[in-house]
Structures are given as C-alpha cells and as structure tokens.
C-alpha cells in the first residue's frame, strides 16, 4: 500500500509520528486515530472533539510473528505484530521491536518508539511511524 501520492502519507504524520488522537467533549472517550465525531455521542459530540496526545504506554492484548510478509516488509521478517491497548483506552496494531520474539507475552507492558516502518523501494519515500518496545524485557 505504499504506492500512492505523498499527501496520503503526509496527512497522517501527526498521528503516526506523535500519536495525536482526540477526545469526545461529551463522554470523554478517547479515539485513535482521531474521529470526526464520537460514535456513541454522535451529534452531541459535533464540534466538541478535542485533540489529545497519547502517552504511548500500554499492554499487549495479543500478538503474532509474521514469517510471510508483503514486499515492503520482507527485509524485516520474522517480526512481531501486536494489538496494544493504550492506557488512555484506544487500541492500535503495531510491531513489537527490541525484544526476543519468544519473550513476547499477552499482558506485557510496552512503550511506543519512533521508527522507520517501510520504504518504497530504493528510490521511493521512506515511511515512519510508531512501533512498540517492552518496558519489562529486552
């Protein structure tokens, strides 16, 4: 999915670089990535969604080790992907890095880290974003 015009990637920089989500001014639920309105408060949330920078701390809900990867990730295999529940509430799908693959566990505490995600061949753009590392084990 790296074939595309630059704006497709550029417009997501606040979220992918700095974990900017948003919060419903009506029920205080936090969303990442930010939403136009709160799915639960709906019209009551219109105009009341406020940006919120997430701390990037959370725990692993589940994980897998990817052996068969898309072309732009082939150089990284095997790599760990996880669903992480951030402390503010939202969940994200991201890689777990800087950790032995067999040390990854459900419930493990993790912290986000800014990394290269993929590159569009030798001459294309390089895309950055968040990965996560364990705060418990190396």
């Amino acid at each position: 999915m790296t074939d595309g015009a630059v704006p497709r990637f550029w417009r997501e920089i606040p979220q992918r670089y700095n974990l900017i989500g948003n919060q419903c001014g009506s029920c205080n639920k936090v969303y990442f990535p930010p939403r136009e309105s709160c799915p639960y408060c709906r019209r009551k949330s219109m105009g009341k969604m406020k940006n919120l920078k997430l701390k990037g701390q959370g725990e692993v809900l589940t994980y897998t080790i990817i052996y068969n990867a898309p072309e732009h990730f082939e150089g990284q295999t095997p790599y760990a992907m996880a669903i992480i529940k951030l402390d503010e509430g939202p969940k994200v799908t991201a890689q777990i890095v800087d950790c032995d693959l067999d040390k990854i566990k459900i419930g493990m505490r993790v912290q986000s880290t800014f990394r290269k995600i993929q590159e569009d061949g030798y001459i294309g753009a390089i895309y950055y974003g968040y990965k996560f590392k364990s705060v418990e084990v190396k």
Partner: protein, 389 residues
C-alpha cells in the same frame, strides 16, 4: 409485505488454479450451468447480480456487471446487471441483494453469480489484493497481514480458552478429508495432522496449511418467487432467513477479538427471520479462510458455547457424521477460496445437500442448512438459512 424466495438452480465451475480459463469464461460457465439446472430460459430473467471482490486489481477490469451480462449472452436483452462488493463476503451479499429484489416483488427471476480470477497476477499481488479488505492506513501500513490478523485472534483464543495448535490443525484435516469427496474442490486429497502441524509458519500460530489457498472459480444460483418455483423444478430450496451485519474495519477497534460480532448479529437476524435456533440446523458451510475462523464461526453461530470451538473439533461433532457437520464441501480451506465466488458456492453446496445430491459427502437427512460468509477479518458478514421445499 415480502414474499418467499426459492433457489431453483445452481451452477459451479471447478475451483483451483485454472490457467486456461479467464474471468469471463468462469462466470459464463457457472451462470449457464445454473440456468440449465433451473430449466428457465434466458428471456425469463429479470436481473443479474454478481459478487466479486477486486477485479480492478486481479484482472485490471471494472464495470463487471456489464461484462458479466455481455459474456453470459444477455447484452442484447439489456437486462439490469449489478456488481456487489463486500471483500470476501461479496458473493453472500450478492445473494442477499438478489433475494431482496425477488422478495420485494420488483423481480420474479434473477441469477446471482460470484467469481474471482486470482491467478492472473504474479508474486505478492494476490495476497496484497486480499489485504485491501483490511484497514490499509492503521493495520496494513504497519506490517499487519491477513493471516497475521487471524493469527492474533488465534493467539488470544488459545490464551483465553486453552485452544491448542492441534485443534486448529484438526480443522484443516477435517476439511481436507471432506474436500477429497468433492469433485469441484481445489484440493481433493486428505492430509495427515502431522503435515499441518509442520507446515511452514505463515504467521504464528498459523502455518501454511492453516490458510485457504489462492483460487480461481465461479458459482451461480437462480432465484425465483417461491410460489412459482415448482413450475421449474421438483426440488426448490427456500431461503428461510437472511442476515447481514458490519463491525469496525480494523480488528483492534473491537472490545473482544475472540468473537466476530458481525457473525453474531447476522446469525441472530437470520435465525429470527427463519424462526429457528442453532439446534435446528442440520448442516452448515462456514467461512474457514483460516482454521481459527471455523472455530470462531461455530461458536458465534451458536453451534457450541464460546470457547468450546476447539473441543468441538476433538469431539468430532463437526465431521460429516457428527451432530452438526461443518463444511462438507471441504470449506474454503480445501474446496478453494476464489473470494467473490465463495458466498455463492456455499449456497450451492447447501442446495446440493438439501436436494440429496451431494454424493459421497451427503449429510444424512439434511433438511435445513446454513451458510456463513465473512468479509476480511469480520468487518462484514452474511448468513443465510435454507430449507428444501
């Protein structure tokens, strides 16, 4: 008031890597077989529906409704042709749209096809195209793959319910054993448990033999107002219920990843319309794109309790002679998974079962059957319940 709708004809191509057949060859073959089986003449047809996931990427062709009408020989009759897309549930959803059009009284007879031609692309293109059913910006961008997301469901299911790697593998073993009895199946051979367990890892804990294959194929059915069905066939099959539901596009957007709420809701609506419960179902074709998906499906459809899907495999209740036979066709795993065709082919299999025409894989005394077709990682789902008339 909606009226009852019956299936009066079915047609299938063989599923597999069909290098000598094009997209248009496949759907025209399935469609003509369905029309012949139904006994209607083409001039009686009011509309054509076709489910396909991604012709744009698989064969560089859109405008599929018109293409299929043309190559099925209906261009000069100018019948309405509608393409339906819901990722891997495109076929099931096409059936549902065809059903609505007849139930509403707008149409009397329609043909519903499903088709995918997946082997005209090379390298990673087929798996990359399937992955367009995921959330491209917030899953795939970060390196998540289709098997990877199902693998994460498996990891959590094993953690929460004690489901084992062996139980997952046994789903593949069962479905290959069934596929061996199905002349239309891509893999017509049984495989031993050890072979599944030592197949190369795709995404831990799923190995290659936990995954459905890349396939070409097509399926078609003819739908007719139920009160006119006996005019055409002695063995019409009635659609008792239909249900459809959606969920978050990304897996991580859900509160509980060990259940597909889309399956639960689509199932509930279909059961409600049919005035039936899971206990009334004699046979089911469920969406086993990965072995864990069948375990989730039999739990979410209410055939077993949540968490007992793995045990159900050990207890053999889902085999051909079990209490609730699942995927007698071989399922997506062994029959093959040309994505757009799958939902329609599931209906065709249940029709064969209810007519008593399923040969060596016939379920004894099958009266009521269910089909369950999932879009990608559960963001959409379509369920149908059928009964012989």
């Amino acid at each position: 008031m909606m009226r009852d709708v019956a299936i009066i004809g079915i047609g299938l191509t063989k599923f597999g890597e069909l290098w000598d057949k094009s997209f248009r060859n496949l759907i025209a073959e399935a469609g003509s077989k369905a029309l012949l089986d139904s006994g209607i003449s083409g001039s009686e047809l009011d509309a054509l529906y076709v489910g396909s996931m991604s012709t744009g990427r698989f064969i560089g062709q859109e405008h599929v409704g018109a293409l299929v009408a043309d190559w099925s020989g209906f261009a000069h009759m100018h019948i309405p042709a509608i393409r339906v897309e819901s990722a891997c549930a495109s076929g099931g959803l096409a059936v549902r749209q065809g059903y609505f059009s007849v139930a509403s009284g707008m149409n009397d007879i329609v043909v519903v096809g499903g088709v995918e031609k997946m082997t005209d692309v090379v390298g990673d293109e087929a798996t990359d195209t399937l992955a367009t059913g995921l959330d491209q910006e917030w899953e795939a961008f970060f390196g998540a793959t289709f098997p990877g997301l199902y693998a994460m469901i498996a990891t959590r299911h094993m953690h929460d319910y004690g489901t084992t790697r062996e139980q997952l593998a046994k789903v593949a073993v069962k479905n290959h054993a069934n596929g061996a009895l199905n002349p239309y199946a891509q893999f017509k051979r049984a495989i031993p448990l050890e072979k599944v367990l030592c197949s190369p890892m795709t995404a831990y804990p799923l190995g290659m033999l936990d995954c459905s294959p890349v396939s070409d194929g097509a399926a078609a059915i003819v739908l007719c107002a139920a009160d006119k069905a006996k005019k055409y066939t002695d063995k019409p099959v009635k659609i008792l219920g239909t249900g459809q539901a959606s969920d978050t596009l990304s897996l991580h957007g859900r509160d509980n990843i060990c259940t597909f709420e889309s399956t639960v809701f689509a199932g509930k609506n279909a059961y409600k319309q049919a005035k039936l419960t899971p206990n009334d179902i004699d046979v089911a074709e469920v969406h086993d794109c990965f072995t864990i998906a069948e375990i989730l499906a039999i739990e979410d459809l209410g055939f077993v309790k949540k968490g007992e899907g793995g045990k159900a495999i050990d207890d053999k209740i889902t085999t051909l002679d079990g209490k609730i036979p699942i995927n007698p066709s071989g399922g997506l795993k062994a029959k093959g998974h040309p994505v757009g065709a799958t939902g329609v082919a599931q209906i065709a299999e249940i029709v064969m079962q209810l007519r008593g025409e399923a040969g060596d894989r016939q379920i004894k005394d099958a009266k009521i059957g269910l089909t369950h077709n999932v879009g990608a990682v559960g963001a959409s789902c379509v369920v149908h319940i059928l009964e012989g008339m």
